[in-house]
């Protein structure tokens, strides 16, 4: 195996390790942190089923964002939807051996790369030219978009221009990563850049704003049922305080007859 292939193989496992451990820790932290107050935002679902539907609408249609700002919604949706299709299409590189015929159907998903790039460009343009958004942007916010743009564009260059890379080699490399049957990868620069940035993205997932992905599912304003009057809602720490009478009325001012 070539040195570069060894480096990239190692990078894959390192970034995947950081991703899994980091996300695991973060999701664990989110899940053990209690939510002492009932704070679902109107219009609130009154049942658990309602919450599930609300969450589905939020993550598939970006409902709140649609209410908020049509431009951000459009570009955000194009990017995320494009990314989803492109990711599905990438499965074919990771599944070893011949693919089932159903994969012919996802072949056209390659055009989703354009959705992705258009969406990202729109978001970047807004970030640069809308003063309000420029005001709240840190360097990392631009870098994140640029990185995703470079990933998208370098991928599109491989697919849609004559700068193809050896797909069979890519497939052997990618599926080899999963089956621990490592092999060489193509060394075209745009492919290496593409791959490297994806690894970077994986590694920074748990320490960056990409945490919005697990975050939405734990957001109390979106995942709570509005039933505070039907069912008592109290967190473990508040209940403990109550049982141990740490917060007593007679500790407050004045007399407590």
């Amino acid at each position: 195996m070539s040195t570069i292939s060894i480096i990239f193989t190692a990078l894959f496992y390192i970034s995947l390790f950081i991703f899994i451990v980091g996300m695991g820790r973060k999701i664990y932290q989110f899940s053990i942190t209690p939510a002492p107050l009932k704070i679902p935002t109107a219009p609130t679902p009154l049942t658990q089923t309602g919450v599930v539907f609300r969450m589905i609408r939020e993550v598939t249609l970006f409902e709140s964002l649609f209410r908020s700002n049509k431009w951000i919604w459009l570009f955000g949706f194009l990017f995320h939807f494009g990314l989803l299709l492109v990711l599905i299409r990438h499965l074919r590189y990771f599944i070893p051996g011949d693919l089932p015929e159903i994969f012919l159907l996802i072949q056209p998903f390659k055009y989703a790369a354009f959705l992705m790039v258009i969406g990202l460009s729109g978001l970047l343009v807004r970030r640069i030219f809308v003063p309000r958004i420029r005001y709240i942007s840190a360097p990392s916010d631009y870098l994140m978009l640029l990185m995703l743009l470079v990933i998208g564009i370098s991928g599109a260059v491989m697919t849609f221009t004559s700068n193809h890379t050896d797909v069979i080699m890519v497939k052997n490399f990618a599926s080899g990563l999963l089956t621990f049957d490592w092999s060489n990868l193509p060394t075209e620069t745009h492919f290496l850049v593409h791959l490297f940035l994806v690894f970077v993205l994986l590694a920074i997932f748990p320490i960056s704003k990409l945490l919005h992905v697990p975050g939405i599912f734990f957001s109390p304003t979106r995942n709570q049922v509005d039933n505070a009057r039907k069912k008592r809602h109290i967190s473990a720490w508040a209940l403990k305080q109550e049982k141990e009478h740490t917060v007593k009325l007679d500790q407050t001012l004045g007399e407590d007859k």
């Binding site: 709140s64 005001y135 990392s140 109390p220 979106r222």
Partner: protein, 301 residues
């Protein structure tokens, strides 16, 4: 004499998003609380010496107690959806009144002391030190949030600035920088029984006057009982109902409805207040104490 000319703002049909005027709402913030109002609530009377450590420790404590705080601090992607949603921003044009920028006063500190990226690459991710300037900004801008939660309706992740404002105010109280209005009122609610500090004789007198007035106007002997043991209903109302127009019409109305229904009811002088300011300062414990007072009044009566 010609009338003085005023610059009256025009009300447009659609909301116009103002241009940013950074720092236009910069200032001292509301009146600060003093020892007298801080101590009884269990907060230090003035800014403690090691305030920075205390504040950072409190942030850690809050984010481990409130999932909202932890998740909201981590999840924001700075998409800008909330930037034109806050009435404090629309009215003032100060960019720090945009919900995301308001939260960022807190988030940048969180990142600096609690996240890998903020500890090692503060400039890159916009993490900032907790210094005097930052604390002043906290005090000023977190008191320019009415916790209406409008921003959270529009946020794609439901990030609620009110939760962050509450957390920030609790941190401020913990290091001895309290807000006079809220803390003085809480003191009154917890000693006298209502936010205005109306004592029992004053309430009684007000209610007697009210009875006379209502009888005069409507010719019915509507009663406004106070501390009547064994009543079926304990009415808790905001204390503005006892003196302010038109709030008092609400109280008059309650009395009439109860009179018509023929149920026995009473107000309590021990807990005559329904508005719980513990929410505003973000203190679960004080909020609970204020609520317990109502519970105690109900049990006693």
């Amino acid at each position: 004499m010609a009338a003085k000319e005023f610059d009256i703002p025009k009300l447009p049909t659609y909301i116009e998003i103002p241009e940013l005027k950074p720092g236009i709402m910069q200032g001292e913030g509301p009146f600060k609380s003093i020892d007298e109002f801080q101590k009884p609530l269990g907060f230090p009377g003035e800014k403690v010496d090691n305030w920075k450590e205390v504040a950072i420790e409190k942030i850690g404590d809050l984010k481990s107690k409130y999932r909202s705080v932890q998740v909201f601090l981590d999840s924001c992607v700075k998409c800008g959806a909330c930037t034109d949603k806050c009435h404090y921003f629309l009215g003032s044009s100060d960019p720090k009144n945009m919900p995301v920028a308001r939260q960022d006063l807190f988030r940048s500190v969180y990142r600096r002391y609690f996240t890998f990226a903020g500890k090692h690459f503060p400039k890159l991710v916009g993490a900032k030190d907790l210094d005097d300037e930052m604390i002043d900004d906290w005090y000023n801008y977190f008191h320019q949030c009415s916790q209406c939660r409008r921003c959270s309706v529009f946020c794609p992740y439901g990030i609620d600035t009110a939760e962050i404002s509450m957390a920030a105010r609790e941190v401020l109280d913990t290091i001895g920088i309290g807000q006079k209005y809220c803390n003085q009122i809480l003191g009154k609610a917890l000693t006298v029984g209502n936010n205005l500090g109306l004592p029992e004789p004053a309430l009684k007198d007000t209610l007697l006057d009210l009875e006379e007035e209502v009888e005069e106007d409507f010719g019915a002997p509507v009663k406004y009982p106070l501390d009547q043991k064994g009543a079926e209903i304990l009415l808790i109302t905001p204390s503005a109902d006892f003196f302010a127009e038109p709030h008092i019409d609400g109280l008059i109305g309650y009395g009439k409805v109860f009179y018509q229904d023929g149920v026995t009811w009473t107000l309590s002088s021990y807990a005559s207040e329904g508005a719980n300011f513990g929410m505003f300062i973000g203190s679960y414990d004080i909020m609970r104490k204020a609520a317990l007072r109502i519970r105690k009044a109900a049990l006693d009566l």
